[in-house]
Symmetry: C2
Subunit: 461 residues, 2 copies
């Protein structure tokens, strides 16, 4: 946990930002894999961590913005439980560290809310866990299918406003996460040799994250089929000439995330064709970074990266025509189907559970519904203290190429005959994490191998 005043300050600001009513923060619970007691590793809710810091399941925080009351509902371990689980720190002691003196038994929560809801608004965030949906349905007497619809927009907006601007103590944790993430990627480069299985590398990345006392921040992508964007299959064996795409990150013991991607030549040498595409992605990556500063719309960095990708693909004969027109028409989305990046913090896609319309967009800048832009999680103006990822890529997806080609889609910008010869290429992505500073940006952590030469050198060690 951070020091007590951090949590007190955060809650104080939040209470001020909400007009009135009761704020309810359910902590997460343990979740069973194949039976109730065989649990996945516990992951606390990030908003609960942000305001209370207590990394324990099955408790609920309540803030009364009208009276200033702050309560944690939860139960101490019984003597029986201590026999099985050891003498752990008491809940009261943890609450003390969070600056909360009022700790009440869990069973008092339902009657408390029953009474409160007669006179006060009850605010809660949209639950992403089904047990919490059931709880809210029962506590608030709501049909289960209305629970998420009735989540509090003022509460969401106030949380987003606070969590978006990272404090210095958070940046320290985020740098730690990126440091471990760097180690993971350097190890992947070392292991990217013919005969090695994707599963071995994925397992080693998880080992590094866990040995540091944390976890993975998301399921690792470790694949020679980098064109499959959500690819968690690790069943292939690497061979000379393959490209290995690794998108992976660590989560620190305090649950701050790192998220990086590197693409590497198995065995240590990019082919000419791989090198060319790699350098287009690298160039777009650098273009995107250069404009990072407060006041810049992330949407505009995305479009600048798209233009750089288009220029590069024109040079290679894959695209043609006017770059700005091509980007405006979305022609680059045949190769770059997704977004340039996203916020990062306690969640790898920070606050994704609160809704992209609040986290990445504003009332006046709404997310596009077009292919490509609809996958851009962040569009709005950057502010000092935002932590974001930059992750352009080029992906040759055979099914998508076939579909577009059959429809002669945007053929004024795409040389389909050339593209056809790249259908076995795979995909390349490069991703780093940044914090927005007063005048620009700062890379989180050290820079690790990023150019053709540097990556080849790491693989060949």
């Amino acid at each position: 946990m951070f020091q007590t005043s951090i949590y007190q300050n955060r809650r104080g600001i939040l209470s001020k930002n909400i007009q009135d009513g009761i704020l309810v923060f359910p902590a997460n619970r343990e979740l069973g894999m194949n039976f109730a007691d065989n649990v996945y590793h516990f992951r606390q809710d990030s908003t609960f961590l942000y305001y209370f810091g207590i990394d324990q399941p099955d408790i609920v925080g309540v803030l009364d913005t009208d009276t200033g009351e702050e309560i944690i509902f939860g139960d101490e371990l019984s003597i029986d439980a201590i026999i099985w689980m050891g003498a752990l720190e008491t809940l009261a002691s943890k609450c003390e560290k969070a600056g909360i003196k009022d700790v009440r038994p869990k069973k008092e929560l339902a009657p408390f809310l029953e009474k409160a809801k007669r006179n006060q608004a009850i605010h809660y965030l949209p639950p992403y866990r089904h047990d919490i949906q059931i709880d809210l349905s029962l506590w608030l007497d709501l049909p289960i299918n209305l629970v998420n619809k009735k989540a509090s927009i003022p509460f969401i907006k106030a949380v987003v406003a606070q969590r978006s601007i990272k404090e210095e103590v958070e940046l320290v944790e985020l740098r730690k996460a990126v440091d471990i993430t760097n180690q993971m990627h350097l190890k992947a480069m070392e292991m990217a040799q013919p005969g090695v299985e994707e599963a071995e590398i994925a397992a080693e990345l998880q080992r590094i994250a866990q040995a540091s006392g944390g976890q993975l921040s998301f399921p690792s992508i470790v694949t020679k089929n980098g064109e499959i964007l959500h690819n968690h299959y690790h069943g292939n064996t690497l061979k000379e000439g393959d490209l290995l795409l690794v998108d992976a990150g660590a989560e620190t013991a305090m649950h701050y995330a790192g998220d990086m991607s590197r693409t590497m030549p198995v065995g240590g040498k990019f082919s000419q064709r791989q090198k060319e595409i790699f350098e287009v992605v690298y160039g777009a990556h650098q273009t995107a970074i250069e404009g990072l500063r407060p006041g810049e719309r992330f949407l505009d960095r995305h479009l600048a990266a798209a233009a750089a990708l288009t220029d590069g693909l024109k040079d290679l004969g894959l695209m043609k025509g006017d770059t700005q027109e091509a980007v405006a028409a979305g022609a680059h989305t045949l190769f770059f189907q997704c977004g340039l990046g996203h916020m990062m913090g306690l969640d790898v896609h920070d606050m994704e559970n609160l809704g992209e319309e609040y986290v990445g967009y504003t009332d006046t800048l709404q997310k596009s519904k077009e292919f490509g832009l609809k996958s851009l999680r962040l569009g709005k103006e950057l502010e000092k203290g935002y932590v974001i990822t930059i992750e352009p890529g080029i992906y040759f997806i055979p099914q998508l190429i076939d579909q577009w080609k059959a429809n002669k889609h945007l053929e004024q910008f795409i040389n389909y005959d050339v593209v056809e010869t790249y259908k076995d290429f795979g995909g390349i992505r490069q991703e780093e994490d940044f914090v927005i500073t007063d005048n620009g940006y700062e890379l989180l952590g050290e820079e690790i191998a990023k150019t053709v030469e540097a990556v080849e050198k790491e693989v060949s060690r």
Copy 2:
């Protein structure tokens, strides 16, 4: 997947064992850690795997025992999804391999059940996932808090009867799981050196399980505080003289579990006191194994192990009095608070979600409510094909010793003055996995280091 006829046979037997009505098998879904799309590794429901073998989320199997109809409700990937996830095997193809030709869109399930329930009983197993509870509540128009109470006992009993007797193809998978589990324990012994962190070993065990293409079968226990029975804290650094207790297992790619425990001296040498307690546990372990055969009640193996522990503790001066009287009074439970073992299969505690009263006991042999015996998951007569664990242990739990001593509990059997000097000892457990054969038992996998000498040798390599 196993060959098609395996699943067809299993479903045929099940249908025959149920009098009438519709059997509903909801597959598991992906579960979000900190937001919906940041998921834990997918774990299919074991009963679904047993009867259908399809390792894919968000589908539902339905068997009509009246008409013989077999249906899978689920949706094929859209072209959009293929772009993000690659061209995966179709659901229809997987269903074909499971011997099911009738595949219908997911949205047809609710109306199907709506209609069926007018004339037929709808059988389902007690759900341990909250999303499935919500589904059943909506499908069957049941209040959420009644869903588990209305689970079908005939369905539970029929599934338990089948899954309890392991087929030869299952034993092959279980031996694979134990082989990987063996590798994990040998690696832990190698790593049990001063200065190593518990977290490093735990991370390495997970790496081994994952690199084999599987997962851990349960969260590993890797602790120098082995007396804490449910201890998943990995924050300590090992030092010379510590005992390290490792209880861990692998799950194969087909989701069969291994589950073993070893206790090892950090640095390679047991102290005299550690050696003495280790040998008492070892002796009880061997005593328990020797009586394994069809017709033997597992409860009686548990009591035989308890008697062997008591004899050993008497020799060391920790207990006194008549052994049988001590065991009958539960005096050994000051040191051995839990059960001798459990069934193992697709779940590490096989079928725990179906209820111990059905899996481990019978209508005539009910589970005891006494301390100690209430933690024995399996009591009934063994049958050929049962796969079980044997895991006696001795645990010095300071809080429990204080509690019993203050109450002078069973002081005719316990030398509290001597016990007092062991409060810093920790705990020792030894666990192996067996299948019951025609006349006795067979150890699954190779036997790895198990005696004082053999364990010391592995640690000292």
